[in-house]
């Protein structure tokens, strides 16, 4: 089981923290700090696994992490998870973020904390791997985005109504209306 997923930058600033086991708020902060301390002092080309810090549960837990440019992606897991599997899962997470944000960078994570959570929620649920197929994940995110857009449309409707009332030149509007072009018959295939 995954106990926690943490993302922080090279200075230890948290960019995402998700706990799947209950820890009080101050404990969460301490765990982030402790984990940063453990991970940041390691060279880049050493192994990606180490024993967990004492706060999260000590040697029964493993820290599995990857370092991308300015960010550390850290998963704290128990012994029931495959280390390499989790390492790949981190990769899937990052690749998915990359697709959703187009060349994801730290700023995207800062300004879209909610989105990052939604994307993560499609990968991991209650500490277990939910979905690993990136195509499937992105399809689901896209569905959410569509919904969001359509709702933004409804939310904006009253405003449009007001502006419509202000411009009372309705006949002109009608005249300007264009019917969509019909597909040319020649393109149709039977």
């Amino acid at each position: 089981m995954i106990k926690a997923i943490l993302v922080f930058n090279n200075h230890g600033k948290p960019r995402l923290s998700r706990f799947y086991q209950y820890y009080p708020e101050d404990m969460q902060q301490q765990i982030v700090r402790e984990t940063f301390h453990l991970v940041s002092k390691r060279d880049d080309n050493v192994c990606n696994f180490l024993e967990g810090g004492t706060l999260i549960g000590g040697s029964d837990f493993k820290i599995i992490y990857r370092h991308y440019a300015t960010l550390y992606f850290v998963f704290c897991v128990d012994s029931s998870e495959s280390e390499l599997g989790i390492l790949d899962l981190i990769q899937v997470f990052v690749e998915t973020l990359d697709k959703c944000f187009e060349n994801v960078c730290e700023l995207d994570l800062i300004f879209h904390v909610d989105k990052v959570h939604y994307i993560l929620a499609e990968l991991v649920m209650g500490g277990m791997v939910l979905e690993t197929n990136m195509t499937e994940i992105i399809t689901r995110i896209e569905e959410q985005n569509k919904l969001e857009k359509s709702e933004a449309g409804i939310a904006a409707a009253p405003a449009r109504a007001v502006s419509a009332l202000k411009e009372m030149n309705i006949p002109q509007k009608v005249k300007d209306m264009k019917l969509p072009d019909l597909p040319s018959i020649g393109n149709l295939k039977f």
Binding site: N48, M125, M128, L130, E142, A155
Partner: protein
């Protein structure tokens, strides 16, 4: 796919930018507080907030929370968002709740109601949101409130795949947090069939759920084995194009494969031959693929491939049945040990640890010893080095122990601080476990102290003392070695402790050499005295008083030291008291009394290593005996806990001192014959009587083990007996001297090892030999085989005796229906009355239980009672028959008399029935001291200057029986040329002489 960017909330972006532009922490906090105030007032005052605004503020709160600030409001607004019809508002509401609301929040009822509404709705995307929230919080309340809805979603035909997937994981989470509140039902039987689902995502999620269910109840879900195997087989043997999107960098469904392989590790190898073959084929295919050239150079490809491979290897190790696969797995791991990827080396070391415990592969693993040692020395990453230490520990056995321990010691000098303590424990355990030659063991431990003294916990040095005390073949060597070690200009305090203890006990063994004469030893120890902590000084003071006994010639020097202001008026009460009392003790007692009081420590009963015992206490589940792998994980005890543990054990010297008080005040009265060489760490568990055997090394803080010195944990008088009655202070009957033990070692070496077999006489193999060992001693191991170790300890006073039998279960299983029966052959019951305390019906794995026998001697007897032990081990009935070591001479109390009295009495006992004489061929070279020790062990006195020939022994004693007291006189004439003894026993009662003569004869 520019999906996310550009549709953010402006206010949120502005706020975040503000925070980021803050120049200082204070400015940031100020900005945050301003924003919090703003949001609070908005939530309170403005009732007309629309969904968009609420969402924006909740997002801000989330951001503030992430920065490490507590959020104590906004919860209600978030709950309100849950009931919105808008997806985005619902979504942010759920997010806020699952990140910020703990399971015990008051609002949980409202949240659960909202969740129930969403689950009941038809909108799958709302259902998914609700499920996510349940899975992430997973409270008991939720489990109770939603226990019906979620299983229904999981097995219902019209649930869409993504919802099914989420439902499986949600159910798993609820089962974990409150297993009893989920009703079992029809869904359970259908759940394993999800492994056949079309959708791989559903199968992955279901596999996690099923594994959890299986762990609780493997029988019920047994059907999943064949389903999992066939699913695995379809994945592994398909080409990667078949699985389309579940192929990750050319590897087919790696996560699902890993899950299925894990699931199978909960079961033994499949019984159905078809399934078994199919599984073997899968595993072979996976191993084969590892040898194929990679389909991509990307690290993701090799990661995914190896994730599956390692899990397959773990399954092979778990099944531990197919030698062919095991060999291949071992070779594969061997390749990885030298792989350039650090991750793979790490994992290979870890998996090899498992493999080392497999009986088929232990030898194969040992082939890689060189590589592992190189890894220990050259790996740059401490995580990897740590795994190398674990593996060396796991692969160690008798053949390679010396080399591995040597390498670990060498590495310890440069090892990372973080792993030193653990390494010290491991080295100590290995050295003890595989020591053939105990001088080597002593060297290793002293080296440990020298190299990493700070990391040597109390347990480690207690243990070396335990072993040195119990093994007389190393005592001289140990004394010599510590003496040399102490000569280093700077030595660790632990070294001083060990040195003080060992020289105090066995310094006499090296005093023959003028370079390590008594005064030299004392000066050496005393040169460290001022550098040590009070606890160590206390120990050294005890060593000094022991020196007074060992080396009377330096008594005055030591008394001067004790008398010095630095000790007698020390600010530390403990040191002051010890100085004063030891000084008094040495001044007012006779040499004989002193010799008795300060006698060498009796051996500790054989028992498991205190270090291991400690590990077991820490993690009882993870340290079954004989499983080295498990010990590995369990031995990671933080230093802090170690030292805590030691703190718990208070020095018992207070008890000790109270006895010394008496001693001082009754200076004319016979002194108590118990005095303890107590050096601080002794436990206080059983009151002062514990101090008899004192220094209960290793069990320092535990009181569940019955201390051998105070089986009743009570009165001191019981224990006083053990060392000889107060009226006969020179003839202790318990503290079997070193010579005696040496003799025992000799005889036990020659006797056949105890087995389960039962000989013709109805006794278990070795029972007779073991019985004979006890004629001249009271404590020791009576019987030992692979299952059980039986130790005995006994005490006698006049016609009463007490005997404790300790049954130690050496297996990792409980021994059931444990029954002990004692029978008295012939008419023994008339002569010896035996009371037996009941013993419990079970002996837990690795545990020891004791049983007490009270035996009163009514009249003389020649036979011994027979003890029959029966128990069930793994369902098989086991029976052991032994002679209970109760012999007539135990009821003798030594008597002192002068030559005149002796010969008068000797002559008086002149009727033939009162005398028994035997000529005995010596079984070992005749040694005066050894024979003397035997006689003392036989509970008779050794009278000096009675027999005109100094080579001869004369002894006297009184045999106490309930009916009468019988005078015993004994004369033993050795003939060194002929290697013969002539033994004559005279007793004031018929038959007694014959019985005692027969008993003594077996000992010569």
């Amino acid at each position: 796919m520019p999906t996310v960017k550009g549709d953010g909330m402006r206010g949120l972006a502005v706020f975040i930018s503000d925070i980021r532009n803050c120049k200082s922490k204070e400015a940031e906090i100020k900005r945050i507080n301003k924003e919090l105030a703003n949001i609070r007032s908005k939530f309170k005052g403005d009732k007309t907030l629309d969904g968009y605004q609420k969402k924006k503020y909740v997002c801000k709160l989330l951001f503030i929370f992430l920065l490490g600030h507590d959020i104590d409001f906004g919860h209600m607004e978030a709950v309100n968002l849950l009931s919105s019809n808008r997806y985005t508002e619902k979504q942010i509401g759920y997010l806020f709740i699952s990140v910020l609301i703990g399971a015990n929040n008051d609002l949980m009822k409202l949240v659960i109601q909202a969740i129930r509404n969403d689950l009941a709705g038809r909108n799958p995307i709302h259902i998914t949101l609700a499920l996510q929230c349940v899975a992430n919080i997973g409270s008991r309340e939720m489990a109770e409130g939603l226990s019906v809805d979620i299983p229904k979603l999981l097995v219902s035909g019209d649930t869409i795949d993504s919802v099914k997937q989420s439902a499986a994981l949600t159910l798993l989470r609820l089962l974990r947090s409150s297993p009893d509140s989920i009703p079992m039902g029809e869904w359970m039987s259908r759940i394993i069939h999800l492994l056949n689902d079309q959708h791989m995502g559903v199968v992955t999620a279901a596999a996690s759920l099923i594994e959890n269910l299986v762990k609780k109840n493997p029988e019920e879900y047994k059907g999943c084995v064949s389903l999992a195997v066939s699913r695995l087989s379809r994945i592994v043997t398909s080409s990667y194009t078949d699985l389309q999107d579940y192929t990750y960098y050319f590897v087919p469904a790696p996560w699902l494969s890993v899950k299925l392989l894990r699931l199978l590790q909960n079961y033994p190898p499949p019984e159905d031959p078809a399934v078994k073959t199919r599984l073997s084929e899968c595993l072979e295919t996976i191993l084969n693929k590892a040898q194929e050239p990679p389909k991509s150079k990307k690290v993701q490809h090799s990661n995914a491939k190896n994730a599956v491979l390692f899990e397959a290897i773990n399954l092979i190790i778990h099944m531990d049945s197919d030698p062919n696969l095991l060999v291949r797995a071992c070779n594969q791991l061997g390749q990885f040990l030298q792989h350039r990827e650090t991750n793979l080396r790490y994992l290979a070391l870890e998996s090899m640890c498992l493999l080392a415990t497999s009986e088929f592969s232990h030898e194969a693993v040992k082939k890689h010893q060189e590589t592992v040692i190189t890894a220990l020395k050259t790996e740059r990453d401490v995580s990897v080095r740590q795994r190398a230490v674990d593996l060396l520990y796991a692969m160690c056995d008798r053949t390679n122990a010396e080399e591995i321990v040597g390498e670990m010691l060498e590495y310890l000098e440069s090892a990372d601080y973080s792993i030193r303590e653990e390494m010290v424990l491991k080295v100590a355990i290995l050295a003890e476990k595989y020591a053939v030659d105990y001088t080597w063991y002593v060297d290793v431990i002293l080296n440990l102290i020298r190299i990493a003294g700070d990391y040597v916990s109390e347990e480690v040095w207690y243990r070396v003392i335990q072993i040195v005390i119990n093994r007389d073949d190393v005592q001289g060597y140990a004394a010599k070695t510590v003496f040399e070690a102490l000569q280093a200009p700077a030595c660790h305090e632990n070294m001083v402790k060990v040195g003080g203890y060992i020289l105090g006990e066995f310094g006499n063994l090296i005093a023959g050499d003028p370079r390590s004469g008594s005064a030299v030893q004392f000066q050496l120890l005393h040169s460290k005295y001022h550098l040590c902590s009070p606890a160590t000084r206390g120990l050294l003071l005890s060593a000094y008083i022991k020196f007074i006994n060992l080396f009377p010639e330096i008594k005055h020097i030591i008394q001067d030291v004790l008398r010095s202001d630095n000790n007698m008026r020390n600010a530390d009460v403990e040191l002051q008291q010890r100085s004063i009392e030891y000084l008094q003790l040495s001044s007012i007692t006779t040499a004989d009394v002193l010799a008795t009081v300060l006698e060498e420590m009796p051996p500790f009963p054989e028992r498991e290593s205190s270090i291991l015992a400690k590990l077991k206490k820490k993690k009882p589940s993870s340290v079954p005996e004989g499983s080295e792998q498990k010990e590995t994980t369990a031995s990671k005890i933080p230093a802090v806990q170690m030292s805590n543990n030691v703190d718990i054990a208070p020095p018992t010297s207070i008890n000790l001192m109270s006895q010394a008080d008496e001693l001082v005040s009754f200076s004319e009265a016979p002194p108590p014959s118990v005095f303890t060489f107590d050096s601080g760490p002794a436990p206080s568990a059983g009151g002062q009587s514990i101090t008899l055997q004192g220094f209960d090394v290793g069990e320092s803080s535990t009181d569940d083990f019955v201390d051998q010195g105070s089986p009743q944990g009570g009165s001191a008088s019981v224990d006083l007996l053990g060392l000889g009655s107060p009226t006969q202070p020179t003839a202790p009957s318990v503290g079997s001297g070193g010579l005696l033990d040496m003799f025992d070692t000799l005889t036990s070496h020659s006797s056949a090892p105890a087995t389960n077999g039962i000989d013709l006489g109805g006794l278990s193999g070795g029972a007779e030999e073991a019985f004979r060992k006890f004629i001249c001693k009271n404590n020791g191991v009576l019987f030992e085989n692979d299952l059980l170790q039986i130790g005995v300890k006994s005490e006698y006073r006049e016609d009463l005796g007490r005997l404790w039998v300790f049954y130690g279960n050496k297996t990792t299983f409980q021994l059931n229906a444990f029954l002990v029966d004692v029978s008295t052959p012939g008419n023994l019951s008339e002569s010896l009355s035996i009371q037996q305390k009941p013993v419990g019906g079970e002996v837990e794995a690795g545990a020891q239980v004791k049983q007490q026998f009270n035996m009163a001697c009514v009249q003389e007897f020649a036979e011994a009672p027979v003890m029959t032990i029966q128990f069930l081990y793994s369902g098989a009935q086991q029976k052991i028959s032994l002679k209970l070591p109760v012999v007539l001479n135990k009821y003798i109390t030594p008597a002192e008399m002068d030559a005149n009295t002796f010969f008068t009495r000797w002559k008086a006992l002149n009727s033939p029935s009162q005398e028994c004489q035997q000529i005995i061929k010596a079984t070992s070279p005749i040694d005066h001291e050894q024979v003397k020790a035997k006689l003392i062990g036989f509970s008779v006195s050794v009278l000096e200057k009675v027999d005109p020939n100094a080579e001869n022994f004369v002894s006297a004693g009184i045999l106490y029986t309930r009916n009468q007291q019988v005078g015993i006189l004994l004369r033993l004439e050795p003939n060194k040329q002929a290697q013969m003894y002539r033994l004559t026993v005279r007793a004031s009662r018929d038959k007694v002489a014959k019985i005692l003569c027969d008993l003594m004869q077996t000992q010569l």
